[in-house]
């Protein structure tokens, strides 16, 4: 793959995000309805409505990966609240729409809080939302204020534009067109900015997202709030367009099912997918219903079901992926590498990139006494129990600013558990951790990352469906909320770790060595003061090991970022680390320079002795 400075990555990665496509659509969408008859206009309105529903649900389901059946709840609540305001307080739906959307959003936040605080996701969340849908249905049948099972009626005697009442259908087309455009613009903005990257990171890997500073609760709440607000607006339109609805039609299982089918068929988690899905599937179903509805009822639903199955079997990324692949093929045929990366020819030095970590201390002066000034991390009496097992037992150590600190020990010695406690993935049973003099014990991983401790995982934790650049951007968004800045920083860091040529490759297609580099890049992107490296060279070949060791040394020497590393390979520890801590059965058995430690008889007995014998065998 070449670095092609002429190609714009934005064009290549998201070929359908072209502004001209959108602008070109506007006159068509505005003028087309003037030329058609009522029936066709009705179909247009239904297409737009489903596009809007699927597009709004896409933020929660597609971007964030929280598959659920909640859309009918938000649509129904929006419809009920705005219509109630209209019928009882004579509030025009133009305003009621927003009041209903705000109330629905508040309800959504309560639902989100209850489910997300323990991380209920996957099938559990999906089932919970089905239950919520049925609960809403039963509630609205029985509550005294909403017309019970009769439902609510909006009576239109004459056209009253201020009350969203029209006797012909054309105005409804323009209303839903506006609503759909809002849904498109909102979901497009989210996709291309910090929230979109963070939502997709949550979908791909919650632990990894949290470790680079993503506040899981806040962003899941953000997603459910956006979806609820948009769906409630659509619900208001739906109520005023149909003029009649009841709890059974509003909180209907099929609305959720169809929203998901349309989204997945078009391409879930993409900007254009839901809109494309609606454009293809809804007219198809409408034609089938019009042609065969009277003779074979239910046939259009058979088609929906079959389409969903076929798409999931053969086109897991939806119809949109055909177009994406076609575009790539076209580019390749014209001799353009679709994975090419744009650079601006910057040659960044590490020290420039990490100037925040200055001043770099006198390197490797481990003989100097530890003072308050140069201690960056202070761990005291740290203990973690797993049931009756003391995984880490009364562990104390200090790390000085700018040094490379190694933690070694046999398998099960408690090294990774210690890391997890420093990074916040585990809460200590006892003891405290001080970072730059501040107590960070028991804080959540995203808070600790924000404070300046970055980590990698022993088993690489990646975002399979994001590219290398997007992965690093997820990290760099923590300190650089503007997309262009985050992207520039991601490209710089990718260059430093040597992954720039693969910036546009999907993470799932990277080799293990690349993934290890990406782990480091992702952690570096959060601008850490301390970098926790958990066996970053395990599983690498000798050449790859040398490269990564060189990279770690370079990062430490040139930027002054403090490094704490767990490693099994002795010569790496010997060559990199200023000081080494040796653990066995959760306890510290030695601490000192690598020479001191390797000559310690206890260490040799516990660890190195076996290792040496084994190596010579």
């Amino acid at each position: 793959m070449s670095i092609n400075s002429l190609q714009k990555p934005g064009l290549l990665r998201r070929p359908f995000n072209l502004p001209w496509l959108f602008i070109g659509l506007i006159p068509v969408l505005l003028l087309l309805p003037l030329t058609v008859r009522d029936y066709t206009l009705n179909v247009f309105i239904i297409i737009l409505m489903w596009a809007a529903i699927a597009g709004a649900a896409n933020v929660l389901i597609g971007y964030t990966g929280l598959v659920c059946f909640i859309p009918p709840v938000f649509i129904g609540l929006g419809a009920y609240f705005s219509t109630w305001l209209l019928l009882n307080l004579n509030v025009t739906p133009w305003i009621g729409m927003f009041i209903a959307a705000i109330v629905t959003t508040l309800i959504a936040l309560v639902i989100g809080f209850l489910f997300f605080r323990y991380g209920v996701g996957g099938v559990y969340f999906a089932l919970g939302t089905v239950a919520l849908m049925l609960i809403s249905q039963i509630l609205f049948v029985n509550l005294p204020w909403f017309g019970k099972s009769e439902g609510l009626y909006i009576i239109i005697r004459e056209t009253e534009p201020l009350m969203m009442k029209f006797r012909n259908k054309l105005p409804y087309y323009y209303i839903i067109l506006a609503v759909t455009s809002i849904v498109f613009l909102v979901s497009n903005w989210i996709y291309n900015n910090k929230p979109g990257y963070w939502l997709r990171a949550i979908r791909e890997n919650e632990a990894a997202a949290e470790a680079v500073g993503v506040n899981l609760m806040r962003y899941k709440q953000f997603a459910i709030a956006v979806t609820a607000f948009l769906l409630a607006m659509i619900g208001t339109f739906w109520a005023n367009f149909l003029t009649y609805f009841d709890p059974y039609s509003a909180f209907h299982w099929e609305i959720a099912g169809l929203a998901i089918i349309i989204m997945v068929a078009g391409g879930a988690g993409t900007v254009w997918g839901p809109f494309l899905g609606a454009l293809i599937l809804v007219p198809m179903a409408e034609i089938i219903r019009a042609q065969l509805g009277s003779t074979i009822p239910g046939f259009h639903m058979v088609v929906y079901g079959a389409v969903l199955m076929v798409v999931l079997l053969y086109l897991p990324d939806g119809f949109l992926s055909i177009a994406t692949k076609g575009k790539r093929w076209l580019l390749k045929r014209n001799g353009v590498d679709p994975d090419a990366v744009q650079t601006n020819g910057r040659n960044v030095s590490l020290s420039e990139l990490f100037s925040y970590a200055k001043p770099a201390p006198d390197q490797a002066d481990s003989t100097a006494p530890a003072t308050d000034n140069n201690i960056i991390l202070e761990v005291s009496k740290l203990t973690r129990m797993f049931g009756g097992l003391r995984a880490v037992d009364d562990l104390s150590f200090t790390v000085r600013r700018g040094e490379v600190f190694g933690i070694i020990g046999p398998n099960g010695a408690g090294k990774t558990t210690t890391f997890n406690m420093i990074a916040g993935a585990l809460a200590p049973t006892e003891g405290s951790i001080k970072f730059r003099g501040e107590n960070v014990t028991g804080l959540l991983p995203h808070v600790i990352c924000k404070q300046g401790i970055g980590r990698t995982f022993q088993v690489t934790q990646s975002f399979p469906k994001l590219t290398a650049m997007e992965t690093v951007m997820v990290g760099s968004f923590l300190r650089h909320p503007i997309t262009a800045h985050a992207k520039q920083r991601a490209l710089d860091i990718l260059e430093v770790v040597g992954l720039l040529p693969k910036a546009n490759v999907l993470t799932e297609n990277l080799t293990l060595a690349d993934l290890k580099r990406l782990e480091i890049a992702k952690a570096l992107a959060t601008d850490p003061d301390i970098l926790l490296l958990d066996e970053v060279i395990s599983g690498l070949t000798e050449v790859e090991t040398e490269e990564v060791v060189g990279l770690i040394r370079q990062i430490n020497k040139e930027t002054g970022v403090t490094i704490i590393m767990i490693e099994h390979v002795m010569h790496v520890i010997m060559s990199l680390c200023d000081r080494v801590l040796v653990l066995n059965f959760g306890k510290q058995i030695a601490e000192g320079t690598s020479e001191e430690v390797t000559s310690d008889p206890q260490v040799i007995e516990a660890y190195l002795g076996q290792k040496v014998e084994f190596d010579n065998a």
Binding site: V120, G298, G305
Partner: protein
């Protein structure tokens, strides 16, 4: 204020609830097996039950016999349906390798397909099969006991316990449990994992061959009735803890009793809200289920 009438109502609700819960349990245990062992996010279990009910109807129409006699035909019928669907239907054969979410969506499509195919051929009319067993209905004190419900509840609980016994104490059960815990390790121990998955699929769906004829005289059925049972079944399974068969039994009974208590004591038609609230409550406050292993990450 607790009057004698309230106590009778309460007892009545508990008796009916226990019996209904028994049937839910039979459904839920099969579902739990398929979810926990074969690891297939089946969203069509309810639709298979619907098919079993229509098969019962067909048997009754063809022979004029009692629906319960239909068990003789419906159980092998469902087992065969399960066998052929596992063997030849891409809907089932292909998806074992998919991640759960994709399986779920895929099964959603399959469910739409099945429901609407049935709708196309038999229509949306609500059906119920009459049985002469109702003439043996009786009272215990003031509590009314319906014979069809008693039969269905008792037979379901017996079947459920038999199934649990098989899973726990027989070699077949040990094989099934081994395959469910670690696919690879089980296959290294000489277990034919694919065959085990198929067996579980057949047992799970075959048990619906009992549930269908037992339920058809009690509750009306129609092409999309499966959604309701699927929902209830999933709730029982999740409440008991995913993969915990005994838990599914208890989950079923809790759901049944909650439904009847709701029907008796909640106003209007809001009765069914109670089991759903119980379910959401469990999910929100103890998401691992009443007997399940934790699903949330403990810090």
């Amino acid at each position: 204020m607790i009057t004698e009438a309230t106590i009778t109502l309460l007892l009545q609700a508990i008796v009916v609830g226990l019996l209904t819960g028994g049937i839910y349990a039979l459904f839920a245990v099969g579902l739990s097996l398929i979810l926990g062992v074969a690891d297939i996010m089946t969203f069509v279990h309810g639709d298979f039950l619907m098919i079993a009910m229509y098969l019962t109807l067909a048997a009754v129409v063809a022979t004029g016999a009692e629906p319960y006699v239909g068990i003789i035909l419906v159980v092998p019928g469902m087992a065969m349906l399960a066998y052929f669907s596992f063997k030849y239907l891409p809907a089932v054969t292909k998806i074992t390798a998919f991640p759960h979410m994709r399986q779920m969506l895929y099964m959603l499509g399959f469910s739409y397909l099945l429901q609407n195919l049935i709708l196309m051929f038999v229509g949306a009319r609500h059906q119920i099969i009459s049985t002469s067993l109702t003439k043996y209905n009786f009272f215990v004190g003031d509590v009314f006991v319906s014979m069809p419900r008693l039969l269905a509840g008792v037979v379901s609980v017996i079947l459920t316990i038999t199934l649990m016994w098989v899973i726990k104490y027989t070699d077949l059960g040990r094989i099934i449990r081994a395959a469910s815990q670690d696919r690879e390790a089980a296959s290294l121990m000489g277990i034919n994992v694919d065959k085990t998955y198929m067996l579980t699929w057949i047992i799970g769906i075959g048990s619906l061959g009992f549930a269908g004829p037992l339920l058809a005289p009690i509750f009306a059925f129609y092409p999309i009735v499966g959604n309701y049972y699927l929902m209830i079944g999933f709730m029982c399974v999740v409440m008991g803890g995913l993969g915990n068969i005994g838990g599914a039994l208890i989950g079923g009974i809790i759901m049944g009793v909650a439904l009847e208590l709701g029907n008796v004591f909640l106003p209007g038609s809001s009765g069914p809200i109670l089991p759903f609230l119980v379910f959401v409550g469990v999910l929100v406050f103890k998401p691992e289920g009443i007997f399940g292993k934790p699903i949330r990450s403990k810090r």
